[in-house]
């Protein structure tokens, strides 16, 4: 069955695996509507508050607006979408019984490569960000105090992601 670009986007946004059927579509619509209502009132209150604060301190109003926007979107809307989607079972990865272990193994392998990519990106980005320090870019790249946090964060990021994805893998052959 051919799916259009909008459906692809919906599936990607809600982490939907497999067919986007009427139940998943209805749940995605409900969750998105709730998130939109929250964001609408949140933004309205924030703008009103920023208008009041701007009379006293313009910088505080600006930084407050940016900061609370990020907080509201990430910890409010995005977190709600992830949790509500998980509760509705939208992110389940259902595979047949004899494929469960193979899929988990595949995810672990993918997690390993993800860890390497993350570590290297972190290392290069960190070396760039320390551009202004007396150490050169190359010296920053091979500095132990840059390599160590890159390896730790890469490993941790990959482990958490692999753990979360593997938890979503369910056996489709068991009738509940």
């Amino acid at each position: 069955m051919k799916i259009n670009r909008r459906d692809k986007l919906v599936k990607h946004f809600f982490g939907i695996w497999g067919v986007l059927d009427e139940y998943k579509r209805a749940e995605a619509n409900r969750i998105a509507a709730n998130a939109f209502i929250f964001l609408f009132w949140f933004e309205l209150a924030l703008i009103f508050l920023a208008m009041i604060v701007a009379n006293v301190n313009l910088h505080l109003a600006l930084y407050g607006m940016i900061g609370f926007n990020i907080l509201g979107v990430i910890y409010g809307a995005v977190l709600y979408v992830i949790l509500a989607g998980h509760r509705a079972g939208l992110d389940n990865i259902e595979v047949s019984a004899n494929n469960v272990q193979a899929v988990k193994q595949f995810n672990r392998r993918r997690g390993f490569w993800l860890a390497i990519i993350y570590t290297l990106t972190y290392l290069v980005a960190n070396a760039f960000l320390h551009w202004t320090t007396p150490r050169s870019f190359i010296n920053n790249l091979i500095a132990w105090d840059n390599i160590m946090p890159a390896i730790i964060s890469g490993g941790l990021y990959s482990w958490i992601l692999t753990f979360l994805v593997n938890r979503r893998v369910k056996n489709a052959d068991i009738d509940k």
Partner: protein, 67 residues
């Protein structure tokens, strides 16, 4: 919505996955319908009835006193 999908499916020796594939939905959706946790649309009700070789009345109808 109370229904007889599970009875008809098991009587025909069908798994939830097989029924889901035949009706074009996820296995999870069939599971939710069987456990009265999701009300399917009329279109899906018809597909379920066709797949289980029965009709809507038999699969979904209930009398008032059954509430």
């Amino acid at each position: 919505m109370m229904n007889h999908v599970r009875e008809f499916r098991t009587a025909q020796g069908m798994s939830q996955l097989a029924l889901a594939q035949e009706t074009g939905v996820a296995r999870q959706t069939v599971n939710l319908i069987e456990n009265d946790k999701y009300n399917p649309t009329l279109d899906l009700c018809l597909k379920l009835a066709w797949a289980l070789h029965t009709d809507l009345d038999t699969l979904f109808w209930r009398d008032r006193h059954e509430d």
